[in-house]
């Protein structure tokens, strides 16, 4: 359009326009050489204030120093990350748009809901940053002292014991479904409205136990609730007495937190982002934030992160197939 327009103008003006156009054509090439030359957007597919939002914000702040450009956090919440992930998958793969990945983003399509992205194909993996601590907790007055007690009771009285989680199809929920498949115990799931809804459900004895992210932490510390087991690959430094489910002989799904972008980010840009985000893992504020949420910092290159997710998908798919039987 600007071409036809400039023909009608004086030649001097046309020349200026041509120069300006030429500059515009050259500009992307120049920018390519010195990525990033403008702020990077980080899409957080959760509400402001949640655990992903909190950790991602401090991580982004720390990564800015290594990247040399501001990282702008934009919340695109809705449908348990599906809305944000759809937008991220469709973003231009130039490295200027990245986002956070949570387990929900791949568990939801695996459970059969239609989404417009494919986790295995539509994303570039930048870097990992940690695992959510998911624990099985009971009220202090409950008779079960260990996870085994709970499972035995669940076998003896199938369907009598009820448990709460933040929602259907979450890692919290699938953890217990996996236990049931492995042991033959039978528990009844009563989904709550998000992790925040789980705590009053247990305190008010509306459910018998919880499988939940660390919302229970202060209650366990005060002795009002008992932590029977955690799902992280290793024991939590904050709750060293609680065994991991792996130790007890159960394979569990991980609750991942990492940085991803749309598929096709050129390797030069991707690795620049990876080094900035991985360098940020040593930031004091970030480490404190993770610690406070009882999350475990995990440093992992993008390639391993990619492999881990593919592995998790295989495991979740087989678990879901067993549950449906």
């Amino acid at each position: 359009m600007s071409k036809t327009f400039s023909f009608r103008l004086s030649s001097a003006f046309a020349l200026t326009t041509a120069v300006a156009l030429a500059a515009l054509v050259v500009a992307p090439g120049a920018a390519h050489a010195q990525f990033p030359d403008r702020p990077v957007t980080l899409i957080v597919p959760w509400d402001a204030g949640g655990s992903t939002d909190q950790t991602a914000r401090v991580l982004a702040k720390a990564a800015e120093k290594h990247l040399g450009q501001p990282i702008v956090v934009v919340n695109k919440p809705g449908a348990a990350t599906v809305l944000g992930m759809t937008e991220l998958a469709a973003a231009k793969p130039d490295g200027y748009t990245v986002g956070t990945l949570s387990s929900s983003s791949y568990l939801i399509p695996l459970a059969g809901r239609q989404v417009q992205y494919d986790v295995e194909k539509n994303f570039s993996y930048v870097s990992y940053y940690g695992d959510n601590l998911i624990g099985t907790v009971v009220p202090a007055a409950a008779p079960w002292k260990t996870l085994k007690d709970l499972i035995d009771d669940g076998k003896k009285n199938p369907g009598k014991i009820k448990f709460g989680t933040g929602g259907v199809g979450t890692t919290q929920h699938l953890t217990i479904e996996g236990l049931m498949v492995d042991t033959g115990a039978k528990f009844i799931h009563i989904p709550q409205k998000g992790s925040a809804g789980s705590v009053p459900a247990l305190l008010g004895n509306h459910v018998d136990f919880l499988s939940e992210t660390s919302v229970w932490a202060p209650f366990v510390e005060k002795g009002e609730m008992r932590l029977l087991a955690v799902t992280t690959p290793s024991r939590s430094p904050r709750f060293p007495d609680a065994p991991t489910m792996n130790e007890l002989g159960f394979k569990t799904l991980r609750s991942v937190q990492g940085i991803i972008g749309p598929a096709g980010i050129p390797e030069a840009e991707r690795s620049k982002l990876e080094s900035a985000f991985r360098a940020a893992l040593t930031d004091e504020t970030f480490k404190q934030t993770m610690d406070r949420l009882a999350m475990v910092v995990v440093d992992m290159p993008g390639k391993e992160f990619d492999a881990l997710i593919k592995d998790e998908i295989v495991r979740a798919r087989s678990l879901l197939a067993q549950i449906k039987q």
């Binding site: 809305l83 009844i188 989904p191 409205k193």
Partner: protein, 507 residues
């Protein structure tokens, strides 16, 4: 009790420190501002300010400021509801109904003044309640489980279906429409998308704020456009600013009841300000000797809900601070703010961070006084807004509503909801249908559905659980009584109600 007084005295000594007073003032100002601007609610504001709280010296200062934004927004939220029929934030949706009618009758001043004074009284009463019984109450509030929430939702719906003055069948239809719209989105129990027609954004449900801004604000604009030149969004007569003696008399009861109701609902982990204002409105209408004047500018319809949403906002601090349970989106962001300051709310809060706990509570007394002093003179200023000519005011409302809808979730979809709401609102207006019952049902739909099914799971599929637990049984029994009384009243007054309806048509 003596211990509580001692603690609160200590809290005052902290809250009265010059820097903390300054934070309370900044928070109150900001809160009033974002409350007035539709869409830009306290959630967005606090989330945006979160990173700044790192720089605020003390955790107490940061929390005082953020808390003041929250309850400040509850004061400000009523302003645009009353003047423009555009709710400033979700809890002020109910205020649109009678507040705007009052403004049309040239009584915007008294409506705004009563909203501010009611908010002050309720806010202060709630803080007194927090000081005395809050920490103890919170432990009992968790006993309120799914069966009780279900009973509460049923009670709300019974009141809602009898809310409109028109034929009961019409009210009932609107209630069902509201439930249908409210159930759009993911099913909490199964994770399946309901009524989403494959539209991704709909799996997230329909947002209440864009929908209400559309039905009320946009609907009103569209309806007025039809009236051509002469039409005006509101009457240009401003009338007196302060409430009359009669206004005071009519408002005392609603403010008192609204404060108590809001406080109790605010204490419940799943309660909150919207539910508080909703129930207060229906209770006032049920108790009123002239229920037919509700929706036509009854000051009780402003005084009650505005008091309730304020005391609920204050009471919500108890489950937040002592249990770490955020009852709504705003307290969820406040929870994040606390965590950033390395304060973990929960059972240990009163032990580990008593200073912060009592400091914040004390600052709320101070903040409420600041807000009253700030808001009363503003009433005179706000009503001047009505002098702005229509050709300027209409586009301004449109722009503000669109910006507000977009900024909620950074999504264009919500602007679409706003537009669709506008069309619905216009059609309702044309057909003289009262949107009230639909809105109540829309708000209650999710609570009704989730708590019913959670309750059934708890009772192994046997609905007896709803009648065997004392609290839910009592609430359900009251609902039944109200329903039966309403049916009889309607049958007896059918002729009179018909009269009311023709009057409505004539107006």
């Amino acid at each position: 009790m003596f211990e509580a007084l001692q603690s609160v005295a200590h809290g005052f000594s902290l809250a009265m420190l010059p820097e903390n007073l300054m934070y309370a003032l900044i928070g109150s100002l900001l809160g009033t501002l974002v409350g007035v601007l539709p869409g830009l609610g306290p959630v967005t504001t606090i989330a945006v300010l979160l990173p700044i709280t790192y720089q605020v010296g003390s955790p107490l200062g940061a929390l005082i400021m953020l808390a003041a934004i929250y309850y400040g927004a509850m004061y400000g939220g009523s302003t645009t509801s009353i003047l423009l029929k555009v709710p400033g934030e979700a809890a002020s949706v109910i205020t649109c109904m009678d507040g705007y009618e009052m403004a049309k009758q040239g009584r915007a001043g008294p409506a705004l003044a009563i909203a501010a004074i009611g908010s002050f009284v309720a806010g202060t009463l709630a803080v007194v309640g927090l000081t005395l019984v809050g920490p103890v109450f919170a432990r009992y509030a968790v006993k309120f489980g799914p069966p009780e929430y279900f009973a509460l939702a049923v009670f709300g719906l019974v009141l809602a279906s009898t809310l409109s003055g028109g034929p009961p069948l019409r009210g009932l239809c609107m209630v069902f429409l509201g439930i249908l719209l409210g159930l759009v989105g993911l099913d909490t129990m199964t994770g399946d998308a309901r009524f989403s027609f494959g539209i991704l954004e709909l799996t997230n449900g329909i947002g209440i704020v864009p929908l209400m801004m559309g039905i009320f604000g946009l609907g009103e604009i569209l309806y007025n456009l039809e009236q051509r030149g002469e039409a005006s969004l509101v009457t240009k007569t401003i009338g007196r600013i302060m409430p009359t003696k009669q206004d005071w008399k009519d408002s005392v009861g609603p403010i008192g009841r609204g404060s108590v109701l809001g406080f109790l609902l605010g204490l419940l982990p799943g309660g909150g300000a919207i539910l508080g204002s909703l129930l207060s409105y229906t209770v006032e209408k049920t108790l009123s000797k002239k229920p037919e004047t509700f929706g036509k500018g009854n000051i009780a319809g402003v005084a009650g809900p505005e008091s309730a949403n304020n005391s609920a906002a204050s009471a919500a601090f108890i489950p937040l601070l002592t249990l770490g349970i955020p009852g709504n989106a705003v307290t969820a962001v406040l929870l994040a703010a606390l965590l950033i300051q390395n304060i973990e709310p929960g059972p240990l809060m009163l032990v580990q961070h008593a200073d912060v706990f009592w400091g914040v509570i004390a600052s709320m007394y101070v903040g409420n006084i600041m807000l009253l002093i700030l808001n009363l003179p503003l009433v005179g200023l706000w009503v001047q807004l009505l002098r702005v000519p229509n050709w300027a005011l209409t586009p301004i409302i449109l722009v503000v509503a669109v910006l507000g809808a977009y900024s909620l979730r950074n999504a264009w979809f919500d602007v679409g909801v706003l537009a669709a709401g506008g069309v619905i609102g216009y059609l309702f207006r044309k057909a003289q249908i009262d949107a009230g019952p639909m809105i109540m049902a829309f708000i209650l739909a999710d609570l009704l559905d989730t708590s019913l099914r959670q309750g059934l799971l708890m009772g192994d599929g046997n609905p007896a659980i709803f009648f065997s637990r004392p609290m839910s049984a009592v609430i359900l029994a009251i609902s039944m009584v109200v329903l039966v009384v309403q049916i009889f009243a309607w049958r007896r007054n059918a002729a009179m109600l018909g009269l009311v309806d023709t009057q409505k048509e004539a107006s």
